[in-house]
């Protein structure tokens, strides 16, 4: 299919989508949707000629005419058991094929101070609050997937925490894909955390079938003064999933944003994670791990914008690529002229287990201030033969030794998942993947 045709497909879907909107069409935000679709029409889908998409070709995705979901698919409640954490008192916000499922969700929090809601409901019940923030942090000017998401924004998760609140129980957003229709969802998340408040957010992505689908997410996060957010993202979708995610985090004075991003699934995955350090003494910790097997393609683009002085950012992304899997890491850091005393650390390490696996790693530092500390490094390697021999010489089988070494390689990423149950689950899933790969 020609790219122009598929672009037209999305645009014509927008017209159908508009008709389905009813009341939401009358809000000022609808004008934003309209300008977003015209921006998308102007930009089109990125090609490898586009600098930011040099190593990730979305062409395979453009061969599918994904449909918008129309009704919430029935999924038995029991499936949640595999995705939730028994010992945590989680607030569950569940989506099935991109639509909020009231039935599967379980939200204990909700007051005037704390709102955890589907975006669709929040646009009605908390309209002023939502429209004050929605679309304010992320730009779709040169990002066609964000433009597309903005045009189709209708559901997602809205989290609002007023000032001085500590929410101990995590909020868990679960995204489930199921059924045999090739669907697209443009989920839109908005997390607003007030001054001196704290919240833990887990997002997890799962597939129940192996149908091809497309998740096109946009998440806006606002971390007000002295607020702390722990944000964990676990992507375990099927290898037939296309997963594109754009996140924009804005941090205010002395705030802390900590995130761990784990990609185990997806056939074609692209994460853009942008953090703006908008005032002094902010701290950002970005951790990532990606595991590629078969022909998976996993691309992580991060961008940390040190706009103000005295901020600290620390970034560690690790990847293990097997078979013919491909990875991309692009870590951009800008230190603006004003941002003196910036301390920025970045590291990216990848293990290539076969000759056919590949990684394109690119640290990209642009420093315009003169009194800063910035370090970056990218390494690409293989499993250490000496370490392998050492373990085997103690009677540990080759498979197990390999799994232990790969697990060791990512331990400094995983240890940053501060919720023990979540970390243990991830550990188990990753080890299972390591050993499964060896058996097949």
């Amino acid at each position: 299919m020609e790219i122009t045709d598929i672009k037209q497909w999305y645009i014509s879907n927008f017209e159908l989508f508009e008709e389905s909107l009813n009341g939401s069409r009358e809000t000022p935000f609808h004008e934003v949707r309209r300008s977003a679709i015209s921006k998308f029409s102007e930009l089109g889908f990125p090609t490898p000629r586009h600098e930011e998409w040099k190593y990730t070709n979305v062409a395979p995705m453009l061969e599918h005419k994904f449909k918008l979901p129309t009704e919430v698919a029935k999924v038995p409640k029991e499936v949640l058991r595999d995705f939730t954490f028994d010992t945590l008192k989680e607030n569950l916000v569940v989506f099935v094929n991109g639509l909020f499922s009231e039935e599967l969700s379980n939200i204990a929090l909700n007051s005037d101070d704390i709102i955890v809601s589907s975006l669709r409901n929040a646009m009605v019940n908390h309209a002023d609050l939502v429209y004050k923030h929605l679309g304010r942090y992320v730009s779709f000017e040169d990002e066609s997937f964000t433009a597309l998401n903005t045009a189709f924004t209708n559901d997602g998760t809205f989290i609002f925490v007023t000032d001085n609140k500590v929410i101990e129980d995590p909020i868990h957003l679960i995204y489930i894909s199921d059924g045999d229709t090739e669907l697209v969802s443009h989920l839109r998340n908005l997390f607003i955390v007030g001054k001196n408040s704290q919240v833990k957010i887990i997002e997890s992505f799962h597939s129940l079938s192996d149908t091809t689908y497309f998740n096109n997410l946009v998440t806006e996060v606002f971390v007000d003064e002295c607020a702390i957010i722990d944000h964990i993202k676990l992507q375990e979708e099927s290898i037939n999933a296309f997963h594109i995610s754009n996140s924009q985090v804005q941090q205010e004075r002395q705030s802390v944003y900590r995130t761990v991003n784990i990609d185990l699934g997806g056939g074609l995955v692209r994460n853009n994670l942008n953090v703006l350090l908008n005032d002094e003494h902010c701290e950002s910790h970005l951790f990532g791990f990606f595991l590629g097997q078969g022909t998976q393609h996993i691309d992580n683009h991060t961008f940390i914008d040190h706009a103000k002085p005295h901020c600290f950012s620390n970034e560690l992304y690790k990847g293990i690529l097997d078979d013919k899997a491909r990875g991309v890491f692009n870590g951009k850091i800008i230190v603006r002229p004003d941002a003196q005393k910036t301390n920025a650390l970045q590291s990216n390490k990848t293990l290539l287990l076969t000759d056919d696996a590949s990684i394109n790693a690119k640290p990209q530092l642009e420093i315009f201030a003169d009194d800063v500390k910035c370090t970056h490094g990218a390494t690409i390697g293989q499993l250490d033969d000496e370490a392998m021999f050492y373990l085997r010489a103690r009677g540990i089988g080759e498979e197990m030794a390999g799994a232990m070494l790969r697990h060791a390689f990512i331990s400094d990423v995983l240890e940053n998942i501060k919720i023990e149950e979540v970390r243990e689950r991830m550990d188990a899933h990753i080890i299972e993947r390591f050993t499964k790969a060896l058996k097949s």
Partner: protein, 254 residues
């Protein structure tokens, strides 16, 4: 227990071992001595199964099995243990996870039940005492940040834990101070019994004051040029290796 016949081994195309014959029986302690570059470590590593060594000729029988056909882990499970000359650091793998896995693989191989956590830690504590090491060792990553002496003691600790039938100590004494040397020797002597054997690869005679060998072999330029009892080690210590080397250069009459 171990029969090495006419073993020739090359590393990256260079022939290092040029025909080794060696027989080690149950209950014996053999010392293999020799100058640097004589092939001592190559012999130790090829017996343990390191893959980058190319066996050109010869055979090695271990309890009647063809050792060279076995994977390193199979050799270990059958009771062969190499104390590494340079134990490798493995960040991210804790000593306890490592040892539990190794011990359980070994037990599994011999049809024994896995140890539960209590039994495992009781055993650890007992063996740690033997090498004067602290329990904190167990939560550390393998050899990471260990001093040279700690690394060597860690090797002996693992040996004590795995109770091998044939232990090969590859220059375990080099770089050890006298206190650590005594600790290491004590660990080795405890293992020594009528049922197992030990091969000590060393450059110096000092360790042999503490672990008295039954046989001493001198390896020069890839060949065992002289074998004897512990007296040979003392002579080497006094006179160096030159006198044996000189003997080698003369053609040996058949």
């Amino acid at each position: 227990m171990l029969k090495v016949k006419g073993l020739k081994v090359a590393v990256e195309g260079n022939e290092i071992l040029k025909g080794i014959d060696l027989e080690v029986n149950k209950g014996e302690v053999h010392a293999i001595m020799g100058p640097n570059g004589s092939g001592k470590s190559t012999l130790a590593n090829v017996l343990a199964g390191r893959e980058e060594y190319e066996v050109l000729a010869g055979e090695v029988l271990y309890n009647g099995q063809n050792l060279l056909d076995m994977k390193p882990e199979e050799r270990a499970r059958e009771g062969l243990f190499l104390a590494f000359q340079y134990p490798v650091e493995i960040p991210g793998v804790s000593m306890s996870n490592f040892l539990k896995t190794a011990l359980n693989e070994l037990r599994d191989h011999h049809g024994q039940e896995k140890l539960d956590a209590m039994e495992f830690f009781a055993l650890m504590r007992e063996k740690l005492k033997l090498v004067n090491m602290d329990e904190k060792l167990l939560s550390r990553s393998i050899n990471e940040g260990f001093s040279g002496g700690e690394k060597k003691r860690n090797e002996i600790f693992q040996m004590a834990l795995l109770e091998p039938k044939l232990a090969i100590l590859d220059e375990t004494d080099s770089g050890l101070d006298i206190d650590a040397l005594k600790i290491v020797s004590k660990g080795v002597n405890q293992l020594r019994s009528q049922d197992n054997a030990i091969i000590i690869v060393t450059h110096y005679q000092r360790l042999l004051n503490y672990i008295v060998p039954d046989f001493v072999h001198v390896l020069v330029d890839g060949k065992i040029v002289k074998s004897g009892d512990k007296g040979l080690a003392l002579k080497l210590d006094e006179q160096g290796y030159d006198w044996v080397k000189d003997n080698v250069s003369e053609p040996v009459a058949a």
